[in-house]
Amino acid sequence: MADNASWITPAAAIAESFPDGFSELRPCAQVNLRGDIADLAFTDAVKSVTGLTLPDMPNKVATGKDFKALWLSPDEWLLVGEGDAEALVQSLEDALAGQHVAVNDVSANRTIFELSGPHSHHALMKSSEYDFHPRVFAPGDCVQTLIAKSQAIVEQVGENMFHIYVRSSFSRYVGGWLAEALAEYNEAP
C-alpha cells in the first residue's frame, strides 16, 4: 500500500461536517477474491493465508484474527483487515498459484464509513430500501444494496454499529447524504 499520508478520498474534505456517530475510517487493506468455493484446494489455500473459512452463505461475514471476509457473490469475497494489502495479495497469489482465481488489491476502490449510535437505524432507513431491522439484519451480516443512489456494502459490526463501503468516487455524495440524514437527531434535546 502506498504511503498513508498521501491517501486522500473525496469524503475527507467534508469530514468536519460529520456529526457524532459518523466518520470515515482510516484506510485498511481490502482485497477482492474470486474463486470456486466448492474447490477444497481453493478454500484450504485461502484459509492457510488468512485463517478464514470463506462464508458460502450469501451476505454473511466470516471474521478471523487478522482478516474478515464479506460474501459478495457466490464466487466473490472482500477480504478486509489491517496491514499490508500488497503482502496479502502476494501471499494469496503464492498459495493459489495454478488455480483459476482472481485476486485484486482494491484498498483504494472503496472507502469505509462507520455509522453508530441509537439513530444509525434511522439514518439507514432514510437512505436504503433494505430492511435493517434487528430481526432481519444482525452483527455478522453484510449486504450489497443502495445507499441513496450509490451502490454500497453495509456490514453490521456490532449493535447499532455499521460499516458502509462505498466506491471512492461516491464517497463525498454518500458521506454528505448520511451526515444530513443524521442532522435531525443531533440537535440539542
Binding site: 450469501p58 430500501e129 449486504v143 450489497q144 444494496t145 443502495l146
Partner: protein
C-alpha cells in the same frame, strides 16, 4: 415497485436490479450458419406475452448474478426465480388473484 427474489440474496426491491428482457433466448452456436431471417429472428423478435413471462434480471446493485424470473405481465405477480441453467418453476393455472 416490484419485490424480486434474487436466488442468492433473497427478496430485494426492484431498484437493485436491471431488467434483461425475455429469458431462454440462447445465442446460436454458429451464427454464420443462420440465414438472414433466422438471424433477425434471434436479434429482434421477442414475445409480448400477456400473462406469465420468463425474463432475465441482473442483481446489479447486489451480487451481480444474472437469473430468471417468471412474472405475470398483467398482475406483476412473480411466481418464482431460478438460476441460469435451472428448470423454470411450474406455472399456476389461473391468471393470479384470489378472492
Amino acid at each position: 415497485m416490484l419485490n424480486i427474489d434474487c436466488p442468492w440474496c433473497g427478496k430485494r426491491h426492484e431498484t437493485e436490479f436491471r431488467y434483461g428482457g425475455e429469458a431462454h433466448i440462447a445465442r446460436p452456436e454458429d451464427p454464420a450458419a443462420l440465414d438472414d431471417t433466422e438471424w433477425a429472428e434471434f436479434l429482434f423478435m421477442r414475445k409480448n406475452t400477456k400473462g406469465y413471462f420468463a425474463e432475465r434480471w441482473l442483481h446489479n446493485n447486489g451480487c451481480r448474478r444474472w437469473f430468471n424470473v417468471i412474472r405475470n405481465t398483467v398482475t406483476h405477480e412473480i411466481v418464482g426465480s431460478y438460476k441460469m441453467g435451472e428448470t423454470p418453476p411450474k406455472l399456476p393455472k389461473s391468471a393470479g388473484g384470489a378472492k
